[in-house]
Every structure is written in structure tokens, then in C-alpha cells.
Subunit: 331 residues, 2 copies
């Protein structure tokens, strides 16, 4: 594959669609960013995706024939083999949508579908903090906790594409209820949603904290970001909430270190903006809870691609697939 | 590779060495079983291994030239790339022993080293309960809890051969101390050692149970096997101890189901003799704690190879390596 090989990545989210024309080095040649308008239904969203794909090719003045593939990163659950979006919570009304086929037929370019967390893992592996490593565990911490596993240099899907749910390992049996129905999942303890929920509890029991003030007294306005702001200001309760959540994240990541013996754990998602306030407790957790040898090996680092990880991940999924097809032809 | 291809598997344990001449179908053609005599030191143990290897070839009247490789399953920690046994707790005095090289030189047959839990995983994948599946998680529950990961049809080693430590994922933060120094590991909650320890506590606080009686009043004689016997007799405390341990095992295995989306979880080791008393709570744990889709996919089954898994696993490790070398030559 020459460095001229181009792909289009489409990151389909519940609120925005991010689309880019990308080369094999992860350089973004043209970019389109628009609202999803998920409330207008599936047909409108798909039209908007198609329009965005055409838009980035036009912007760069690149004819369709020069684009090798389109990659779509979409929220799960998916059937990645069939290219079907099953029923994502943030795309209301979508049910068993054959998105790969729909896009492929209407754009006329080979199209591949990947779940968004796996796509971000591919992006960090190929272009970001996991470059050059064959064993990379990507963990995204935002409203939820997700992940993607790069094992022996390849994204690991498991039997049916559902592997990598690092947010749903049990950390605290009988702990807080998780959105998945289980109790004490990593996501129920360390996600942005979990942090905000815990802060609301702390505020509602009248603990002395600036959180309520920062939220103008409205519990609905309490977010993880706001808790982080309070912590920055030295607020004791906010620091305690964050520190507990990050300790749980450290325990979960230590388990991943013992299971996978990875070279690197890459942490992305909105909460990675916490920087050292996230890295320090997680690194401490790994040192304390994992075996000495794999704990020595592993680097725990922040993701490098920021809000570009979705669209670059979709592009990386397309690049991975076309490389796979080339290697099948050769062998 | 023809079905005539033969390998020798050596399962090196702290108390016994099990050695077999094995064909590609996992048929044992000759078998040798002897004490390790670990207390006599490393040189004696290695001589005993060499003698056992020669013994099985003689027994079957097979010349050395017909044996393609020797596989050794040894207790960790190992450096599998270098073929070095680092410092196994049950082989006192062993430190950085280049076992692969020592055996290879003195037997004159290509030799490979694999850790014992990984070897058992290979055996169940190739000859036992995981046959025909590309995604197999093997969990051994005996004095400790160990495991091996068959991912995309291959044993997963991680960056440095330390992957697969399923016994050391944290199940209960601040739970009982584990041999690894961490607290609340799966091994500290669901291993035979953990069950015996818990039973000793229950007996020492004078709870009404036949366990003390079965142990002739000697706490040192309390084992997981004895707790299982008491449970069979209907003993309430024994049943409670086992049920708690197996519930934790179920929680741990549910996390593995969410992480790996495997086709099959194979449970081996001494405690797999519990049969339904192990399977039922583990299956319930998976149904309760894992996502619906991967929980529906996965079969939780008992290992099929019993006490042959070690020696067949050592043989399987050798077969895997020679196949890999053949495929390198071809490609």
C-alpha cells in the first residue's frame, strides 16, 4: 500500500458525526463535523453520513476512485461480521440496520463497520500512544467505560465481536448498580456517570463541598467535569470522590495487566483530561495489585489523539481491512 | 505433519514428573510416572526428567530420530522465549535454570518450554473440551487458580509470556490476602487453599459442622476435598463455604466472558471434581453478571483430560511449536 492510499473514516455518535479523509499515516486531509440529528430518524442520519463522505472527498478534490475504503465507527451493540448496527441506546429507533451495506451501495466504495471503542483502540495503536506495540489495551473513560484489545498486533474481537468490554468486569460485588444490570462493574464505579452520581449523593446529604455551588444548586448540572473543577479548587469531597473512582480504575486495570501482560495501557475518553489525577492513582493501583513482572513491563499512558480518536479509528478500521484483503491475495 | 509424528511431553510438577510419548491425535503411546524428588536438588530432578524421556521411547521401541520434539510443562514464573525456569515456589533452589537448553542438549531433540497452565489450555483446546473452538478460556482451580487463553486459535502469551493469570484478577477489594501479596484475588477466594482456610476459620469459631470430625480434629488435615465430602453429607457450613467460593468463581468467570467473548470456558484442576456443585453456580454467575449476548454464546464445561492434561499439554506445546516452524518454512 503506497502512502497515497486514502480512506474515509466516519465516527457516528449519538450527537455528532465526524468524518475525515485520511491517509495511511493518519494525516487528515479533509474533515467534516456535523450534528447527527438522531431524533429525525435513521434515514436522515444515513443521508447525513453519505453527504459528509462526499463532502470530504470534494473538499480535497479527490475522486471516489482514489478512496480505497470507508470505515464506520458506530456505537454497539453491532454485528461486525454482517455490518449491522443492532440497537444502540443513543440512536433511538435503530434496530438491526445493515449500515455497512447501505453506505457501500450508495457511496460505491467498499465499507467496513467497527464498534467505536475498538476503532479508538485501532487509532491509538496505529497513530497514537500505542504505536509500535503489539500488546495494547485501550480503555476509554467517559460517560461509560469501554475498551479495545490489541493482542499480538491485531484487534481482538472474540467469538462474535463482543470482546473488550473492560467497563463490565466486576470490581465490587454488590456494589452500585450498573447500566448493564450487573452490580459493581468498573463502569458503575469509575465512569463520568458514576462520579456525577456519587457527587449528587454527597451533595444531597449536605456534605460541605463547592460542588453544589458550581452546579448553581441544580443536582442535574453536576457532571464529572464539574467534580474535577471542584477538586482543582481543593475541595475535599470532590477530591475524595475522584480518588475513590480512580482507585477502582486502578484495581480494574491491574487485573487487565495480570490477564494480558500488555506493553501499554492507553487511557482515553473525556476523563483522561484529568491527567495526573487519573494516571497517578492508576499507576499506583497497578504497582500495588498486579504481579511485579507485568507491572514493570507495562506503561500506563494517556491517549494521544483526543477527540480525533473516533474518526481516525474508523479510518484505521478501514485500513486494517484493506491490508487484510491484500495479505489474503498474496498468501 | 503425518499422524505418525511423535513428540514427548514432560509435565514437571513439585511432587511428580509425568512423561509420555504422544502422537498428533493426543494418543499416549507410552507413559512414565515418577516422583520429582525436588528436595534432592535441581541436578537430580533434571536427570530424572531425562531418564523418563528415554524410558518412554524405549518402552514404545521408538528411536530418537522419530521423535520430533520434546515439550516441557513447568511451573511459573518462566521465561518461555529463553526457555528458562525462573524461580518456581514448588521447586526449591531452582533459579534461572535454562531447562530447555539443558534437556535439548542432553536428549538431542528439539525442546520447548511452556508454563503448566498454558500447557493444559493447549491440551484441552487440541484434544479435550475446547476442540474445534478458536476462543477458549481455560481455568484451573486447584491449590491455586490459573489459566490459559486460546484467542483466535492460538495460545496468547502477552508481551513477555506472563498473560493468562486469571487467578489474580481482583474480585473483592480489601478481601482476603492472596499469596501474590494482593487482596481479594480470585485465587484468594475460590482456590482449594482458600476453601480450606475458610473451613479452618469456621471450625475454629466452633460452628456446628462435620468438617472437624472428618479431619480427626486436626485443622492441618482440612482440605477442599474434605470440605466437599462434608458438603456431600449435607453439612450446612461446608455447603456454605463451597457455595460462596463458587459464587466468586462465577463472578470472575463472568468478567472473563465480558472481556473475551469466548466460545467455551473450560474448568479443570482438582476442584473440577465438584462437577455440578461447581458448574451450577458458575453458570448462574455468568447468566447474572455477564452481558446477555456473550453469556448466551459461551459454554461453561469441565475439562476432559483430567490428570493427563499436564503431560498432553506439554506434548501439545511441542506440536504447536513444530507446526509453527513448518508454516514459517512454507510461507
Amino acid at each position: 500500500m503506497t502512502s497515497q492510499a486514502l480512506v474515509v473514516g466516519v465516527d457516528l455518535g449519538g450527537t455528532k458525526i465526524s468524518t475525515a479523509l485520511v491517509d495511511v499515516n493518519g494525516q487528515i486531509i479533509a474533515h467534516d463535523y456535523r450534528e447527527t440529528q438522531a431524533d429525525k430518524g435513521q434515514a436522515v442520519v444515513i443521508d447525513r453520513m453519505l453527504d459528509a463522505v462526499r463532502q470530504v472527498m470534494e473538499q480535497a478534490d479527490i475522486p471516489k476512485a482514489q478512496v480505497r475504503a470507508v470505515g464506520i465507527g458506530a456505537p454497539g451493540p453491532l454485528d461486525i461480521h454482517a455490518g449491522v448496527v443492532i440497537a444502540p441506546p443513543n440512536l433511538p429507533g435503530w434496530r438491526d440496520v445493515p449500515l455497512k451495506e447501505l453506505i457501500e451501495e450508495r457511496v460505491g466504495i467498499k465499507t467496513f463497520l467497527e464498534n467505536d471503542a475498538n476503532a479508538a483502540a485501532l487509532a491509538e495503536h496505529r497513530f497514537g500512544a500505542g504505536q509500535g506495540c503489539d500488546h495494547v489495551i485501550y480503555v476509554t473513560v467517559s460517560t461509560g467505560v469501554g475498551g479495545g484489545l490489541i493482542l499480538d498486533g491485531k484487534l481482538y474481537h472474540g467469538a462474535e465481536g463482543a470482546a473488550g468490554e473492560v467497563g463490565h468486569i466486576t470490581i465490587l460485588p454488590n456494589g452500585p448498580l450498573c447500566g448493564c444490570g450487573n452490580r459493581g462493574c468498573l463502569e458503575a464505579l469509575a465512569s463520568g456517570t458514576a462520579i456525577a452520581k456519587r457527587a449528587r449523593e454527597v451533595v444531597s446529604r449536605g456534605a460541605p463541598t463547592v460542588i453544589a455551588e458550581l452546579a448553581d444548586g441544580d443536582p442535574e448540572r453536576i457532571t464529572a467535569k464539574l467534580v474535577a473543577e471542584a477538586a482543582e479548587q481543593g475541595d475535599f469531597e470532590a477530591r475524595k470522590i475522584l480518588s475513590e473512582a480512580m482507585n477502582y480504575l486502578g484495581i480494574g486495570i491491574a487485573s487487565l495487566v495480570n490477564l494480558f501482560n500488555p506493553q501499554v495501557i492507553v487511557i482515553g475518553g473525556g476523563l483522561s483530561n484529568l491527567g495526573e489525577r487519573l494516571l497517578e492513582p492508576v499507576r499506583r493501583g497497578v504497582a500495588r495489585h498486579a504481579f511485579a513482572a507485568p507491572a514493570r513491563t507495562v506503561q500506563v499512558v494517556l491517549a494521544e489523539l483526543g477527540d480525533k480518536s473516533g474518526v481516525l479509528g474508523a479510518a484505521a478500521a478501514a485500513l486494517t481491512q484493506i491490508e487484510r484483503e491484500i495479505s489474503f491475495k498474496i498468501s
